[in-house]
Each structure stands twice: as structure tokens, then as C-alpha cells.
């Protein structure tokens, strides 16, 4: 029985890891090899041509930096804003609390693809297109993150807040110096989800920028696909590897903490 489970789990691991290996293997092949014997996993010869092309075609480092700066800013802002909002929604009594909560939750279900036209028509006249502002500010608040922080705050004992008040702490001090460390696992989970999403977001950065200097890595990797020609899979996969590796490496390095953060009672 146990052995059966282990075998099944090994298979599961293969189903999840296999595609990555495949992606990496493909990126080392030649197109010719791909077209003729695509199923053979191991490249006949490890060719770096695809990578050479990727790195020569694109300022990869610059785009990666843009991506990381953007995703980090978004993550930090989301955490910074979710804390007071989550605190108010979880711990304070005031009129309109239910309404506020419902408003936040309603925004949880709206994807950017349906809001971008009005947003663009708002930001455009302000001259904000092509700025970090346009990439970051619309995502400065995460409805989901606010919800998670609220849930985490619910389990913080009121006494702690009262103790801090008696100790002379103001509300902002309480939020950022007392409560933030307490809900750190939730913040970490929230940051992770947000970072990963925005780091790899293609749509919004493409739509909100018309200038290369502010572009992000996924937009750049899209360049590797050919509009109106054939797809050269080895190059696309090399681009994919370049796009994916930073997050995967980050994840592998920090996976213990990340998994713990995510599993640390994300919900009430």
C-alpha cells in the first residue's frame, strides 16, 4: 500500500517536473532536430544557439530588472496598504464596515482585461502611460491580499492591540510595528502570489507602455515568437527558460519558507 502510494507520488512528481525538463531540453536543440525527432528528450548536442539569440535579440537584464522592480513595488505597496485596511476591517468597529468589506470583495473578481480600456483612458491624458506609475498604481491594492490580511488579523488577540495602546503606541505604530510582524506569514504569502503574478504578467505592461525602456521580461519574451513566420520552438523555449528561471530558482531556494508561509493559516 505504502509502496503503491510512493510510486504514484513519484509519477505525480514526474508529471509536474517533466514539462520543465522538456522545456530546458528543447531549448538546447536545433530546429531541425525538433522538427524531426521532437520526442527524444535529450538533445544530440547541447547547443546554446537559442540562448545566444535570446540574449542578443533582447536586453534581457534590463527587462528582468524592470520586471523585478515593478513586481517588488507592487508587492510592497499591496502589503503596506493591506495592513491598515485589513486592520480596520478585522479589528475596528465603525459604520459602513460591511459595505467596505463587500466593495473590497467585489473587486476580487475583476480581471485587468476588462478594466484596461477605461483605465487607459484615465491614465493616458495624465501622461502616465509609459511610467512605472501606470504599471504599479493600478495594482497597489490587492483585494485578495486585503482579505488575507484581514483574516490573519482576526486571530490576533485584542489584548495585544490594547497593550500597545496603553504603552502609548499610535494606530500606525500598532499596524506597522506590532501587527505587521505578527501576520508576516500572510504578508509573505501575499507578496509571493503578487510577485509571481506581476512578474510574469504580459498583458498590462504591454498595454500600458509604448516605450521599450519601461518594458518587462514577459513582453520581451513575446518578441521571440514570430508574427507571420514559423515558430522556432527552441528559441521560444529558451525564452521561457529565461523567463521562468528567476522565479523557479527563487522558489527552490526559498521553498521551505514559502510553503510554510503559505500554509501558515492563510484562512480564518
Amino acid at each position: 500500500m505504502d509502496r503503491l502510494v510512493t510510486v504514484a507520488l513519484a509519477l505525480v512528481a514526474l508529471v509536474w517536473v517533466g514539462p520543465y525538463l522538456w522545456m530546458v531540453a528543447t531549448s538546447f536543440k536545433s530546429l531541425d532536430e525538433l522538427v524531426r525527432a521532437p520526442a527524444w528528450p535529450i538533445p544530440s548536442r547541447f547547443r546554446l544557439d537559442a540562448y545566444r539569440e535570446v540574449f542578443s535579440a533582447l536586453p534581457v537584464w534590463r527587462y528582468t530588472l524592470n520586471s523585478i522592480v515593478m513586481a517588488t513595488l507592487i508587492g510592497v505597496l499591496q502589503a503596506a496598504l493591506a495592513l491598515p485596511a485589513g486592520y480596520a476591517l478585522a479589528k475596528l468597529e465603525f459604520t459602513g464596515k460591511r459595505v467596505a468589506f463587500v466593495l473590497v470583495m467585489a473587486c476580487l473578481i475583476i480581471p485587468p482585461q476588462v478594466t484596461f480600456v477605461p483605465v487607459f483612458t484615465m491614465l493616458g491624458p495624465l501622461g502616465l502611460v509609459n511610467t512605472m506609475t501606470a504599471l504599479v498604481v493600478p495594482f497597489a491594492v490587492s483585494a485578495f491580499g486585503t482579505f488575507l490580511v484581514r483574516q490573519a488579523m482576526l486571530s490576533v488577540p485584542n489584548e495585544l492591540i490594547e497593550a500597545a495602546r496603553l504603552d502609548g503606541a499610535g494606530e500606525l505604530t500598532i499596524i506597522y510595528r506590532v501587527l505587521a510582524p505578527l501576520v508576516r506569514p500572510t504578508l509573505a504569502a501575499m507578496f509571493l502570489f503578487s510577485f509571481v503574478y506581476h512578474y510574469s504578467d504580459y498583458f498590462w505592461p504591454l498595454m500600458m507602455t509604448t516605450d521599450d525602456h519601461i518594458r518587462t521580461l514577459p513582453v520581451a519574451v513575446a518578441l521571440l515568437r514570430e508574427q507571420g513566420t514559423g515558430v522556432r520552438w527552441h528559441i521560444v523555449m529558451a525564452g521561457n527558460v529565461v523567463l521562468t528561471m528567476p522565479v523557479l530558482v527563487l522558489f527552490i531556494v526559498a521553498q521551505r519558507r514559502i510553503l510554510r508561509a503559505v500554509t501558515a493559516r492563510a484562512l480564518s
Binding site: 530546429l31 483612458t121 501622461g127 498595454m207 509604448t210 516605450d211 513566420t229
Partner: protein, 395 residues
């Protein structure tokens, strides 16, 4: 208002990846080497659709490029909306040298009274590619009629372990239009959208017959570029003996095939006919005069024979400059690369699109979404087209 661009800067939005982008960027650098007054900043804006949305939103908020390129079908639409600048300023020398069938007035029927708003850039027609090895082994030559097409396709098909399609072609509006023309039909007749009438139906029936009766053509594998990629991929892998696709792929297919690639014009039915495709340069209306002039300077340069021929040589698109074409002939490029010449020769039977603002909607909303189902599920083609006509007329 949008911040003024630095003097002499031309913002150029494009939608290419891969090799085309490389060639384009190299052309731009050469432009910069040859002069210093105008500086072109080329920026990728996503695929054609995304690029077009960005142009539209850009127009809405007043953040537009100097130049962008758009697919042919939307030119009449944009022109009618009054958002495009006239481009006569590139000069008569350039205009008179343009390949007539590829320029705005040769591409669109009924555009003669309209202002000139589009200059051709990467223009193409569909052509046939065949696997010379297979054709030689089987003693086949490229078909010139629909009957020959079916015969060749069935000869070249293999079933069983090493299955091979005799013929493959994206079930796409573009190729359907080619078939309609070959069957003697026109999309718009006397200002009414007919979608070809009976010839339109026959075009679809040809595909249906090849897919379902002959089983020599692969059933449509997916929409848009997936279908295109699939047929290219099958061809390169030897799983399709002959495909129809754009001339733009000449270089890609030649370079990546492990067999000699042959190209041939499309066959005819009651007549020979092909549509043209690809994109045009356009310029938004209302730019400051210096920027407009700078943009025109770049366009003028791009239309010159040398650039036109280089672009054609390195990609497979057709040279838009007559002098450029003559240069390719003169230098023996076409002799060495006969496949590149097929499309150019085929221009003699190229059909003009109607100058109809609703053209792209007819394509995208009315026809295109119905083609695949009609073929793969063998629907009653007349009913399908009647339905499409209704949608097209509803607007």
C-alpha cells in the same frame, strides 16, 4: 496634450518578432548611418491586434506614434474614421515607383477617390509550397487547376504508420478568398456583400471534399497562427507534401527544411486569382508638422528600391518598389531563388479588396469564425454563408 517628441524623432510602432524584427531593426540602423536628421525609435506593440488597439487607445488619449503599420483590411476603416494623415508628401518619385498591385490604389477597389493614407510595407500573397523530394519520387508537378489539386493531393497522401497529408492549408479567410476568386466570385458586388455567392460556396465545398471524401487534406487544426504553424510544421516534418501559405515563409521554410522546397502559384478554377495580404504604413492625423516631415522622410527612405529589395530578399515578402524588383531580377537573385519570385509573378492575377470600412468585420465576425466549423463538421455551406451574410449586413 502629449509631450512633444524631441525634434527629428520618429516613433515607429511595429508588430514583428523573430527574424522580421531583426531585419527591420537592421534597416533602421542603416537609416541612421545614412543620415542624422531623423531618428527612428522602433517599438514592439504586441501582435497586429494588440498594436491596433494601442493605436486606437493612443488616438483616444492623444499618445500616438509617428508611424505604425496596420493590416490591410482595417485601412479603409481607419481612413473612414478620419484618423489617418495623407501621405502624398513622400513624393511622386516614390509613389510612381510603387508596385501598383501592392500600393493602396491597386490593393483596394474603389479607393481612387479616397486620399492616399497607406504605403505598402510587408506585402504578400498566398502561394503553394511543395516537397520536391516527394514530388520527384512520385513524378508529380504542382497543380494548376482544382481537379489537379485533388489528384496531386491524393497521389501524395499516405495512410498508416507514416501517415502523410497530400495537402494542407489553414482554413482561413485569406485562402478562402483565393478560392472564391478562382471560382469566379467576388466578395462585394455592386456595393452588396455577397461573399461570393455560389463560388463562395464552391470554395468551401472543395475543402470539404478534400477533408472528408478524399481524406487528403488535414482537418483544420486551429485558428489563426496555430493553423499556420501547424501546416508549416507538418510540411517541414514531411507530414504534408504540399501546403498553401504566405510567401512570407519562403525563407523560413527553405532554411529549416531538410528537403528541397518548391514553390508554385496557386491553381485556378474558372480563372486564376489570389488576394494580397500584409500591412501598410500609416500615420495618425494631426501630428506637428516637423514630426510629420520626419516620418515622411523615413517612409520615403523605406520605399526606396534598395530597402524594398533587401526586405524582400531577407524575409520573403514582395518588393513594393518596381525598381527594387527589377534590381532583384538584375542581380540574379530571383534566378538563384526562384521560390521568391512566385508571388511576384502571381501579382498579375491578384484581386483587389473592396474599399469597404466594414471589410475587417466581415472577415473577423462574419466569415472567419464560420469557416472551420463548416469544413470540419461538413455543414451545409450555403446555409453557413447565408448566415455569415446576415451577420455581415447587420454590421
Amino acid at each position: 496634450d502629449r509631450p512633444a517628441r524631441p525634434a527629428g524623432e520618429v516613433a515607429f510602432w511595429f508588430s514583428y518578432g523573430g527574424n522580421n524584427r531583426k531585419v527591420l531593426l537592421e534597416l533602421v540602423s542603416r537609416f541612421h548611418r545614412e543620415q542624422s536628421a531623423v531618428r527612428v525609435v522602433p517599438t514592439f506593440q504586441g501582435d497586429y491586434f494588440e498594436g491596433l488597439v494601442k493605436l486606437r487607445t493612443g488616438l483616444f488619449v492623444g499618445a500616438v506614434p509617428t508611424i505604425t503599420h496596420v493590416v490591410g483590411e482595417v485601412v479603409p476603416y481607419l481612413a473612414r474614421a478620419g484618423v489617418l494623415e495623407r501621405l502624398e508628401g513622400v513624393g511622386d518619385a516614390v509613389l510612381s515607383d510603387l508596385e501598383p498591385a501592392l500600393a493602396q490604389f491597386g490593393t483596394f477597389e474603389g479607393a481612387e477617390d479616397e486620399p492616399l493614407v497607406a504605403l505598402p510595407f510587408n506585402r504578400s500573397t498566398p502561394i503553394a509550397f511543395f516537397n520536391r523530394t516527394i514530388f520527384r519520387e512520385l513524378g508529380l508537378s504542382p497543380p494548376t487547376t482544382w481537379d489537379e489539386l485533388r489528384a496531386v493531393a491524393s497521389r501524395a497522401s499516405l495512410v498508416g504508420e507514416e501517415a502523410r497529408w497530400g495537402f494542407e492549408c489553414p482554413v482561413d479567410w485569406w485562402f478562402w478568398t483565393a478560392l472564391v476568386g478562382q471560382a469566379g466570385g467576388r466578395l462585394v458586388e455592386d456595393g452588396r456583400i455577397t461573399l461570393g455567392g455560389e463560388p463562395g460556396a464552391r470554395a468551401l465545398e472543395l475543402w470539404q471534399a478534400m477533408v472528408h471524401d478524399d481524406r487528403t487534406m488535414r482537418s483544420p487544426p486551429g485558428r489563426d497562427f496555430n493553423a499556420w504553424e501547424a501546416s508549416n510544421g507538418d510540411f517541414l516534418a514531411g507530414r504534408a507534401a504540399m501546403i498553401w501559405t504566405s510567401t512570407a515563409f519562403v525563407r523560413y521554410l527553405e532554411e529549416n527544411a531538410s528537403f528541397p522546397v518548391g514553390a508554385a502559384p496557386l491553381p485556378g478554377d474558372v480563372r486564376r486569382a489570389v488576394p494580397t495580404g500584409g500591412t501598410f504604413f500609416v500615420m495618425p492625423k494631426g501630428l506637428p508638422a516637423p514630426e510629420r516631415e520626419a516620418g515622411l522622410a523615413f517612409l520615403r527612405w523605406m520605399m526606396q528600391p534598395q530597402q524594398a529589395s533587401e526586405w524582400a530578399r531577407r524575409t520573403g515578402y514582395m518588393p513594393v518598389s518596381q525598381a527594387g524588383r527589377r534590381e532583384l531580377e538584375a542581380t540574379g537573385f530571383f534566378r538563384e531563388h526562384p521560390n521568391f519570385k512566385v508571388a511576384v509573378d502571381q501579382l498579375s492575377v491578384a484581386q483587389r479588396w473592396p474599399w469597404a470600412p466594414e471589410l475587417f468585420r466581415v472577415q473577423r465576425e462574419a466569415v472567419q469564425p464560420r469557416l472551420e466549423a463548416a469544413v470540419s463538421e461538413r455543414l451545409d455551406v450555403r446555409k453557413v454563408l447565408a448566415e455569415a451574410r446576415l451577420v455581415a449586413e447587420a454590421g
